[in-house]
């Protein structure tokens, strides 16, 4: 039963106040994109056993989507940040690297 801090309203929300939204930082491919790009956008998932960047919505609170860096094996949360972010923030990446030296990085 996770708790994640909403970066918008600062509430340490328990999971039941949130709705999960799976992998973050997906790039949308629309008309004109290749079959492969579209398939990857829609379906291919990193699904790592380890550090994962993912989407959550503070559905029962401020209603905002935010992103979280979380380990899917230990459920440790390295940080949360606004959804209006194209790549994981540097300080979160640094924190993960410090804690998980063998982490292969976000890409």
């Amino acid at each position: 039963m996770l708790i994640l801090e909403c970066p918008y309203c600062g509430v340490k929300a328990e999971e039941t106040e949130l709705t999960p939204g799976y992998e973050a930082h997906l790039k949308r491919f629309g008309p004109g994109s290749s079959d492969e790009d579209f398939e990857n956008y829609m379906f291919a998932r990193k699904n790592p056993k380890g550090v994962h960047f993912e989407r959550w919505r503070h559905a029962y609170g401020c209603g905002k989507w935010f992103l979280a860096a979380r380990c899917t094996a230990t459920l440790e949360v390295f940080g949360t940040y606004p959804a209006q972010t194209s790549e994981p923030p540097a300080e979160i990446v640094a924190k993960i690297k410090a804690k998980r030296p063998d982490w292969k990085g976000y890409k």
Partner: protein, 415 residues
């Protein structure tokens, strides 16, 4: 291998059961095999078994990182049914169900297949229409199901509350020869049968890398060293993403936790399996007497084999409404498994971008019932290099083409 029978038991009883052999051998890996199956869950073991039985391929190793049957095969609610809506699903699940009918005799291991009847309650008009559709479809697919009214539901399940104020039971989709089997026995029985054919089941051995040459698989790195192989079958359920990654491709799969629980045992009170999808709960009573109850999935990637507790609460609320008598039973144990959910919630039995490497995954919340059929189809795919009709539509390219096999459409879920 010593045949199991009541006579064998009697003979052994006289000497305090000192004479039984190992159910399966635990050899060290050979340097190479014709086929390696990664994952000794039900699907992996059944694949190996039918490779041997149907194709005579026995130079096979099944490699398991933990103890065989310890993945989802060892932690599911054992529901077996084939009343699926879409043709490809109905075909493979019915194949599996029919193989279950005489699996105990086939592998000389009592898997306790118990076709006690299964019903899926319809509690809204929408669900009624969805299940009627399934009955019509099943009739054409050769799957025997029927629609029954609320009185018949009550007759089959005396402990049910059919006129709950919120969601009265309007009828049910009934599969008389759906039911349950003893989950561990399925894994153990197949393992024993594979071992008897000379296959190697190598436990406590994790695959850590997949090696290829010229676009074709040549072997795997494991915690017990490198092992060569001509063909590789990846059958690792919740860990499919990880092993696919080793083989260099990505899957339309997310791993999430699915939970289940049992109550304390009570005397027999419910002979059939009941699924109530409107309120999200399903329940059966095991031969030991516990009520076996399936919970929901988390909506986030999770490899911990434990889920969030509120799903258990949601399930129990639903079931207390449907079966008021369970309120004063007690939850004895809860647990979770890591299920592999695909983009259309249907499985993948497919060739892969890597030559001679095949994958069987995506059974998600409902693959126990499919074990014999899936093994049968996967063995055919691996032996021939091309899918047979059972597997054909479950290829991994269907997502790109948009050819979904979507079961959720009939108001159903996939347990």
């Amino acid at each position: 291998m010593k045949r199991y029978s009541v006579f064998a038991i009697a003979r052994e009883a006289l000497r305090y059961h000192q004479g039984w052999d190992k159910a399966w051998a635990s050899p060290a890996p050979k340097s190479s095999y014709d086929v390696i199956i990664v994952g000794a869950g039900g699907h992996g073991l059944a694949t190996a078994y039918y490779l041997g039985k149907n194709f005579g391929i026995t130079n096979v190793a099944v490699i398991e990182k933990g103890w065989l049957g310890g993945g989802n095969t060892g932690r599911n609610t054992t529901i077996i049914r084939s009343n699926y809506l879409q043709d490809p699903s109905a075909a493979i699940y019915e194949k599996a169900r029919s193989l279950y009918e005489d699996l105990s005799q086939d592998i000389n291991y009592n898997v306790m297949f118990s076709p006690r009847g299964l019903l899926m309650l319809a509690q809204t008009h929408h669900e009624v229409r969805g299940y009627l559709r399934t009955v019509h479809a099943n009739n054409l697919q050769g799957v025997k199901t029927e629609w029954i009214g609320p009185e018949k539901v009550k007759e089959l399940v005396p402990i049910i509350n059919i006129d709950g104020p919120r969601y009265p039971v309007l009828g049910a989709l009934y599969q008389a020869r759906g039911g349950t089997a003893r989950h561990d026995a399925v894994a153990w029985g197949y393992a024993r049968a594979c071992s008897a054919m000379g296959m190697d089941i190598i436990q406590q051995c994790e695959v850590t890398g997949v090696r290829s040459e010229g676009g074709k698989v040549v072997g795997v790195d494991t915690t017990k060293g490198y092992i060569g192989t001509k063909k590789l079958g990846i059958v690792v359920a919740g860990h499919s993403g990880q092993v696919a990654d080793m083989a260099g491709f990505r899957l339309p799969v997310e791993a999430v936790a699915l939970q289940a629980l049992v109550s304390e045992p009570i005397k027999p009170c419910m002979d059939v399996v009941v699924m109530a999808n409107t309120v999200h709960g399903y329940m059966s009573q095991s031969d030991k007497g516990e009520m076996v109850i399936g919970g929901g999935t988390d909506g986030f990637n999770n490899f911990t084999q434990r889920g969030s507790f509120h799903h258990i609460e949601e399930t129990l609320r639903a079931l207390v409404e449907t079966f008021p008598m369970i309120s004063r039973l007690k939850m004895l144990r809860q647990w979770g498994g890591i299920v592999d959910m695909t983009g259309d919630r249907s499985p993948i039995i497919s060739k892969t971008p890597l030559g001679n490497c095949f994958i069987n995954c995506g059974w998600g919340t409902g693959g126990f019932k499919a074990i014999p059929g899936s093994g049968w189809a996967m063995a055919e795919l691996m032996a021939k290099g091309e899918p047979g009709p059972l597997a054909a539509e479950f290829n991994m390219w269907r997502f790109r083409e948009g050819q979904f096999i979507d079961e959720s459409v009939a108001a159903g879920v996939a347990h």
